[in-house]
């Protein structure tokens, strides 16, 4: 019942929020800090409370045109300006422009004697005066708890603080009150009792010798908020809080393709290479040519006039350029043209978040089409596996929104790779190439597989991946009678086959000649027989003609005899006709 009521009021009157301008914090708080209310920012020493509070004021003054008052109870105003100058904040100038006002409250215990009743109206008046003089919308009290060490009458202090926070609300200023973290409590003096609208806890932890600052919203009355611990970091541009993942998965998916630089590999990927804006993982054991593939990809992008940003975590840029020259790849010319930029840093140089932000920043300034991280596995030395994964998810998210194609290389330690996914990111990437050593006949050869490639028809075949002085190439592995042959075995088989062909060719031509010869012999024989047949035929014809002639002559003679005997010519004619 009561819950329903609360919900109801929230829906009726949505809480107004004041954007902090701090990267990421506004996302987590769904818009910023509660407007016109105090927010408690607590944490142990050195976790960045003061910086965050001042960032809030400075961003307010510069980005949102909301002047702010900083009341410091610790450092002097001059010290403060100097300290935050390293973050790129020029407090002196902002003060001169009447955008902010710094009021330093100094309480020297030794100078002060307390006798009888008093209140802190002086503080109210000072703060009120400061707010009114620049029409401030934001106020920071850093760290008001110091009053507890300066004044002894805690009863008065507590009632006055309670009054102060009410007064701040009445003034309608959005305020941040910083407080030191106490043992077992959020603040040493229990300020959370008075400031209860929004409580943010900062934390500074060292895990595996790498320190990370984290932020958590403990409480945010009347608003939804991210409940996780979010890493944040402080660098020359102020504070950036990094939400673990972006909240939505609604990225634009282009159909444009980008070539890998190795024609045979493009052929394996449906003939056109990778998708633009996709993520590619090249994994493999040591020395399988991952960097070479990456360099070829970089070269292909730069040759088309695209910009490429290469993050090297293992080798220095000069080393990479030199090494790639050995496989006929000149990266130096792209560097000189300004299309290729290397950024080399040791993973242990700083924590993962710092790396991520460094990467973000470089990408934002260089605006590349292609980003290469070589190798991501080395980042594990800067954090634990789950952190690396979280970081890479965020990075891939970011790159996809920016439509940047990214290629990661990953070193796998175990030979059984198919089951073990690299940093668990293989499920995140769009294309996964695996370069693997194939050991046979006493030699190691490289085999390249396309394990997955989303959204394209890709080859399911293993290709032998060869690195020569001329460059990279993929050749079909030889499928011999004894299985798959690679390396010198493949060469041997090819030579064998070539000899076979030559021998067969020779054999075929010998047989052909034999046939011709046989035919000739046969033809000769046929000719002889023909002649023989002709002579026999002639002989036979001769006999027949002789017979005929003899018969004619005999007939003629008999006719003549008959004519002579009787003179009856007609009769003779008849006889001859009958004969015919």
């Amino acid at each position: 019942m009561s819950k329903k009521e609360i919900k109801h009021t929230v829906h009726n009157k949505p809480l107004e929020k004041t954007p902090t301008g701090i990267t990421g914090l506004d996302e987590i708080t769904a818009g910023g800090l509660p407007q016109g209310r105090p927010t408690l920012l607590c944490g142990s020493a050195g976790c960045g409370k003061t910086l965050m509070a001042i960032d809030f004021i400075v961003k307010g003054a510069t980005l949102y045109n909301e002047p702010g008052v900083i009341m410091v109870f610790e450092e002097s105003a001059q010290e403060l300006s100097t300290n935050v100058a390293s973050l790129g904040f020029d407090l002196d100038k902002l003060q001169a422009d009447r955008k902010i006002k710094i009021d330093q409250v100094r309480i020297e215990r030794s100078e002060i004697e307390e006798t009888g009743e008093y209140d802190l109206e002086g503080l109210f008046i000072r703060l009120g005066y400061a707010i009114d003089s620049i029409k401030a919308k934001r106020v920071v009290l850093d760290t008001i708890e110091n009053l507890f060490s300066g004044l002894t009458n805690e009863g008065v202090l507590r009632s006055e603080l309670r009054r102060l926070f009410h007064w701040l609300k009445d003034k309608g200023v959005t305020s941040i009150i910083t407080a030191e973290r106490g043992a077992g409590t959020l603040t040493r003096h229990g300020l959370e009792e008075y400031v209860s609208d929004c409580v943010i806890l900062l934390d500074h932890r060292v895990i595996d010798q790498v320190s990370t600052r984290r932020l958590r919203i403990v409480k945010y009355r009347g608003s939804t908020h991210g409940t996780n611990e979010y890493p944040f970091l402080i660098d020359e541009d102020g504070i950036s809080v990094l939400p673990i993942t972006s909240l939505s998965l609604d990225k634009h998916a282009p159909t444009e393709r980008i070539l890998s630089g190795i024609p045979a590999l493009d052929k394996m990927l449906g003939g056109q290479g990778f998708y633009k804006g996709s993520s590619i993982l090249v994994s493999g054991t040591a020395g399988t040519g991952k960097t070479s593939i990456a360099a070829y990809f970089a070269n292909a992008a730069c040759s088309k006039g695209n910009r490429c940003l290469y993050f090297a975590f293992e080798e220095s840029p000069k080393q990479i350029i030199r090494n790639m020259k050995s496989i006929n790849l000149d990266l130096d010319k792209h560097v000189k043209k300004g299309l290729l930029q290397f950024h080399a840093s040791r993973p242990t140089l700083h924590g993962l978040e710092m790396h991520l932000v460094a990467i973000y920043k470089l990408i934002r300034t260089f605006k590349p089409e292609v980003v290469i991280l070589d190798p991501v596995t080395n980042l594990v030395t800067a954090g634990v596996m789950s952190d690396v994964k979280a970081m890479l998810i965020r990075l891939i998210d970011f790159l996809q929104t920016e439509q940047i194609t990214v290629l990661f290389t990953a070193l796998t330690l175990s030979a059984v790779v198919s089951e073990q996914t690299d940093e668990g990111i293989s499920s995140l990437v769009d294309t996964w190439l695996l370069v693997r050593d194939i050991e046979a006949n006493g030699e190691r050869n490289r085999g390249l597989y396309v394990i997955k490639s989303r959204g394209m028809k890709h080859s399911n075949q293993v290709r032998e991946f060869i690195i020569t002085d001329e460059g990279l190439d993929l050749v079909d592995v030889y499928l011999g009678p004894d299985g798959i042959l690679i390396g010198s075995a493949r060469m041997a088989q090819q030579i064998n086959e070539q000899t076979g062909v030559a021998l067969r060719d020779y054999a075929v031509s010998a047989k052909d000649r034999e046939v011709t010869r046989r035919r000739k012999v046969l033809e000769a024989k046929i000719a002889g027989l023909q002649t023989e047949f002709e002579s026999v035929e002639e002989e036979l014809n001769k006999i027949y003609l002789q017979d005929e002639l003899k018969k004619q002559i005999a007939d003629k003679a008999r006719q003549e005899v008959l004519n002579l005997r009787s003179g009856d010519a007609n009769r003779v004619m008849k006889v001859r006709r009958n004969k015919k």
Partner: protein, 94 residues
């Protein structure tokens, strides 16, 4: 300002509250008793001149500030404890 006025005291108040009236009357009483003729009291109402609060680092009211003689001393409260005020102002030794 004459040389014999060797005590310069400033009392910061915020409006005519019970505490400030009390503090002022207490202060006048002690000064008349111990520093007759050699003191000057300046009362500053922060309600009227809020810009002056920062200069002397005023937080609490009423605050009594001993500007002269140096070093500066501050006493906060309604000055009801005579002993403490006199010691605090170094009028009588502790």
């Amino acid at each position: 300002m004459t040389a014999e006025k060797k005590w310069e005291l400033r009392l910061y108040v915020a409006g005519r509250t019970e505490k400030s009236v009390m503090a002022l009357s207490n202060l006048k009483k002690y000064c008349e008793e111990h520093l007759k003729g050699q003191y000057r009291i300046e009362v500053i109402d922060l309600m009227e001149k809020p810009q002056l609060a920062e200069g002397d680092q005023i937080l609490a009211v009423p605050t009594l500030v001993r500007k002269v003689p140096q070093p500066m001393r501050k006493i906060i409260g309604d000055l009801s404890d005579k002993e403490k005020v006199l010691v605090g102002l170094n009028i009588i030794p502790a």
